[in-house]
Amino acid sequence: MSKKEQHTTLQVPAIEHGTVIDHIPSHATLTVVKILSVLEDLVTIGINLSSHVMGRKGVVKIANRKLSPDEVAKIAIIAPRATLSIIESYEVVKKYTVTPPDVVEGIVRCVNPSCITNHETVRTRFSVAKAEDGGLRLRCAYCERAYDQEEIEIV
């Protein structure tokens, strides 16, 4: 991370304990917040921060908790290059990049209106692959339609 970028990330107030989700595509930042199932603690959000790698990015900081594996999988689908930092006493104690799972179950809605998953109670299932442009392609296991990351809807 460049000095300047470190500075912009600090534009979102630091947290004492908790998790920082960085390198979110700006447009996906609010979706990341929506994914977080429990919002009892302080959540601070930065959108359109300048980023050396991404141009513009989003940052979300959640005080006093870690993310569940389910939340991490969802974030990986809409922000495949996001980094997670675990913060304790204002220090980063662990930092890692999310990895999109090969298959996601029950977290993405198929936007094909003729798909059986929109007519019956079915837990959705999508296979996840890297597209040529570096983004993700998700294919519905039922109707077999493929979607770009930008087209998908989180359940």
Binding site: N112, S114, C115, I116, T117, H119, E120, T121, V122, R137, C140, A141, Y142, C143, E144, R145, A146
Partner: protein, 309 residues
Amino acid sequence: MSFAGSDVISVADFSREQILHILAAAEKAERGQLPMFTSRKVMAVLFFEPSTRTRLSFESAMQRLGGTVIGFADASSTSTRKGESLFDTIRMVENYADVLVIRHPLEGSARLAAEAASPPVINGGDGANQHPTQTFLDLFAIRKTHPRFGAAGEPPLRIGFLGDLKYGRTVHSLSIALSHFPCELVFISPPSLALPRHIKEILTDRGVACVEGERVEQHIDSLDILYVVRLQKERFADQLEYERVRGAYVLQAGMLARVKPNLRILHPLPRVGEITTDVDRTPHAYYFAQAGLGVPVRQAILALVLGLV
């Protein structure tokens, strides 16, 4: 290789070896070399949307193997009308039969049925998505007309597709299945009805040489197979455009003057004017013979999933 107990939902689930295994069984079925069931086997046909041709072809195939058939031909007679879910209907019917054939207007319905049922499920068409037995029938037609198709070391076949390639599900499934074999694919359609990007991506990922064009005359002389599908008026946003382009997608005998002697023309039928009847009398027409392959192909698939061969 055993298929006993397997579902047949999508061509995307089948490897090259599995496809060749099905075609070999279809050849046996055609020569009358498949055995008959020695114990009573029941096939349930669950047609939530009518398709007389597909249903009769499955029923004929099952009866030729010595099996019996139960089922319904359209959804009006079933409890889904009363709001029962597909999942529950399948859970009920699976107790009555050894194999289920389902046709349903919603995409992915056959996959869901296969997850609900323990006996093998065969997809007889799930909306715009898949109709795998039609695809195996199309592959069998290619094999019959070009017997070296699929053999090791053969030069690639050049296979053209003509018509509405955007909505034509038979084109999507067949081209995906062909990606396992050495072939060059030529897609000829109006630009607004070109092959969808997600299909093209799968083909190029698998290293298939693909060409796209708008005029059949520019490509027909180099083809070994021409697969024609309907160009439906309803698919055009602009009716004037339909009137303007439709003529370019009607195959006539005059276009066949300089084609390869071994060119064969396929069509999933029924046709609605996209191949003129003067083509029927040329040695290149194969679509009626192709339709006749539906029964042996379905016999082969039933025999395989029921463990008969």
